[in-house]
């Protein structure tokens, strides 16, 4: 193969790099800088050091509460989404009638935007709760489980597709060999299928973890934090402090940086942990 000069690499990646710099890298650095300043608009910032970070945690408990709520929510939804997605994938890799129809149907909610899903489910959930003379704003529990349902509804289909792809790539001879050796379906599942789809588990856990942590539109559409701020997740809390409060733009920015670090660290740890469990294929 002919060697391509490095200059060409640079040339061909330039458009992408430029776009990346404009749309991601520069705003990101600017955001970190702004978190150390007090500002109304991004052009009149004044340096205040770590003050914003202190205020984010000490002035009220909103951010901490949002953190706890988000952590609980993420834990539940990561487990549930992966459980449902994997079960569906197992079912739909068998010879079930109409399995392509089912696969498509389960995948479809993922194509709808979070805001729309949030409003649709708000109607459904309130429709049910109205029978008991309450609505979703009545208790933080309703909001919590409402969010869990919406997120599951949206993400299960996507994760299912990843699991299906992974299950289908398992060499059939391995399963056959196990069956000839007398393994029952349970043993095949736990000793062949699950170990061989661990890469899919890694990616699915990563996606669900990151997405649950960053959940915003569904939260905004479904509860907007009601009752009070009891169901406000971190992204919504950041949004509220940035846009909702005069003089809080810097604090919101500081929260966003903390949020970024938190999500980054958790996701990295998760990746390292589950990578170490993956089998060499």
């Amino acid at each position: 193969m002919r060697r391509i000069s490095n200059a060409y690499y640079a040339l061909f990646t330039l458009p992408t790099l430029t776009a990346f710099a404009i749309a991601f890298f520069i705003p990101f650095l600017l955001g970190i800088y702004l978190s150390f300043t007090r500002f109304t608009t991004v052009t009149n910032a004044r340096w205040v050091g770590l003050n914003n970070y202190v205020r984010a945690f000490t002035e009220n408990k909103d951010f901490l509460n949002a953190m706890v709520f988000t952590a609980k929510f993420t834990l539940i939804s990561v487990v549930l989404i992966n459980l449902f997605a994997f079960s569906l994938a197992l079912l739909l890799t068998r010879n079930v009638w109409g399995r392509n129809i089912f696969r498509t149907t389960f995948f479809m909610p993922n194509l709808i935007g979070g805001i729309v899903l949030g409003y649709i489910w708000l109607l459904i959930i309130n429709g049910v709760l109205y029978r008991f003379q309450v609505d979703i704003t009545f208790s933080a529990k309703y909001g919590f489980w409402g969010l869990v349902i919406v997120t599951n509804w949206q993400m299960v289909g996507y994760m299912m597709v990843i699991y299906i792809a992974s299950i289908q790539s398992i060499p059939p001879e391995l399963v056959e060999a196990a069956q000839i050796d007398g393994a029952n379906p349970r043993q095949v599942l736990f000793n062949i299928t699950i170990p061989l789809v661990t890469p899919a588990f890694t990616i699915c856990t990563f996606l669900t973890l990151a997405n649950s942590f960053k959940l915003f539109d569904q939260n905004l559409a479904l509860t907007r934090g009601a009752p009070g701020k009891a169901t406000a997740m971190m992204a919504l809390d950041i949004y509220n402090s940035f846009y909702g409060t005069t003089g809080y733009e810097g604090v919101g920015q500081a929260k966003a940086v903390v949020f970024f670090l938190l999500v980054g660290i958790i996701v990295l740890v998760q990746l390292l942990l589950s990578r170490s469990k993956e089998m060499e294929n």
Partner: protein, 455 residues
């Protein structure tokens, strides 16, 4: 960062969709025909409902003066966000709006002194302007009023029933009379063919401003009046006692307990729901301002006739309230960006003067924007004629009554209002006792005022 970018982007998309929808297919900005040699003025409009009108105003202004008006409208409830990002751009809005002293505090780096402008000289009541020392930083451009809107046809139907506690609305001139009528009417709701006396008390987060801001104006107005506060001194309003909390509770209880909707279900009702109920004749009374007429008359299947729509002051059981009128004031103030070039600032001042003094401009203000204005450039026959505006003018012109000024322009920022609104919802749902709501009001007020002052 990523999620925020996505957010900003989606906000832009939503804003542009709304703008396109409102503008009937025209793009967000209203550009004049090419070749205009004179200046361009960028106005960031606050009221989505008048976005289309401003397109026409821009054309007329261009035809008369050759100047170009670029109007961008922020989607409902996103004005501050939009202003924040627009004003940081290289071509920032020159004419924008602030919502009173609190808005001035947030934007004082940008608001120019308007005391020398022609329009300010024609302001009839100078106390309405946002001032700081000798400077004038916000110029009110519309007068609005709110109270309890009622459907007179329905009330007459009730007064004709046996055992009605009053013979006409003229007898309802204090809280006790209102309460008697409302409660008796609620018990006869099936016979009257309504779902409840009051339309839903919309307490959905973001839809609760009629209660956490407008209704809360009454107790605060009376508290400030009793204590004779100097309202231009920020320290005077740094704390409140909420001493008229009981009066607030009076009217709020009356609203939620005699309504079309059970108190526990109010958390998902919006202002639109409430106004639609009124328009469809499912309820007889609703608290809102004169801007609501467009909303009422615009509902499909509207059964309320213009001549039957009347205003009742919001009575809360304060001594002497027989002489109380409507809540009249404004939270819409023009501000001019002092970081823009002097020419642009002058152009902005010229534009608002043109809009409020030239025959063409005044015709737009009266007939299309339907504003009641605080300027002496308008003659009596140049005032809007929709039923609610007429009612506001009738109350304002009645020398026997006193108007309740809009003191909520001195309320702390949005977090205070949101917290109070959320507490009201929890109170309605029965999960928070009234004492806690009262305490929260006092505490949040103090905390948010301190933040705004200190931060």
């Amino acid at each position: 960062m990523k999620s925020k970018l996505g957010l900003v982007f989606s906000l832009l998309v939503v804003a542009s969709i709304i703008l396109t929808a409102c503008g009937g297919g025209t793009p967000a900005g209203t550009e004049a025909p090419a070749g205009a040699a004179t200046g361009e003025l960028y106005y960031l409009n606050f009221k989505p409902e008048v976005a289309e009108t401003y397109t026409k105003i821009a054309e007329a202004w261009n035809a008369e003066t050759g100047n170009t008006l670029k109007v961008v409208t922020a989607a409902s409830g996103t004005y501050e966000q939009t202003l924040k990002s627009e004003i940081a751009k290289s071509d920032p809005p020159v004419l924008f709006q602030i919502n009173g002293p609190v808005g001035y505090a947030a934007w004082k780096d940008y608001t120019a002194d308007l005391s020398g402008t022609e329009l300010y000289k024609h302001l009839t009541d100078k106390t309405l302007a946002v001032t700081d020392g000798a400077g004038v930083y916000g110029l009110p451009y519309v007068i609005e009023g709110y109270g309890i809107i009622y459907n007179n046809a329905m009330m007459d139907k009730y007064f004709a029933t046996e055992g009605a506690t009053a013979a006409s609305m003229d007898e309802v001139n204090n809280f006790a009379a209102l309460k008697a009528v409302v409660e008796d009417m609620q018990s006869k709701k099936d016979a009257l063919g309504i779902g409840g006396v009051f339309c839903s008390t919309s307490l959905k987060p973001g839809e609760d401003w009629r209660w956490q801001t407008h209704l809360a104006n009454l107790p605060i107005f009376y508290e400030f009046r009793d204590n004779n506060l100097n309202l231009s001194d920020p320290a005077a309003t740094a704390e409140v006692k909420f001493q008229y909390a009981e009066n607030y509770k009076n009217i709020f209880d009356l609203y939620i307990n005699n309504s079309t909707t059970a108190p526990t279900l109010l958390g998902s009702k919006s202002v639109d729901d409430s106004m639609a109920e009124f328009a469809l004749g499912q309820c007889a009374m609703v608290q809102n301002g004169n801007w609501a007429w467009g909303q009422i008359s615009g509902v499909d299947g509207n059964t309320v006739k213009a001549e039957e729509v009347k205003y009742l002051p919001i009575y809360t059981g304060v001594p002497g309230e027989e002489k109380q009128g409507l809540n009249i004031g404004t939270e819409n103030f023009f501000a001019i960006n002092k970081q823009a070039t002097p020419e642009k600032q002058q152009l902005a001042a010229d534009f608002i003067w043109w809009l409020y003094s030239s025959p063409t401009g005044k015709a737009f203000v009266t007939n299309d924007l339907k504003f009641m204005t605080p300027f002496d450039t308008f003659a009596d026959d140049e005032k809007p004629t929709d039923p609610l505006a007429r009612e506001v003018l009738r109350y304002a012109g009645n020398a026997d009554l006193y108007s309740v000024a809009w003191r909520f322009t001195l309320f702390p920022g949005q977090p205070f209002k949101d917290a109070f609104g959320a507490a009201l919802l929890q109170y309605a749902q029965g999960s928070m006792p009234w004492e806690d709501v009262q305490q929260l009001f006092i505490d949040q007020w103090k905390a948010e005022k301190a933040k705004a002052a200190g931060g």
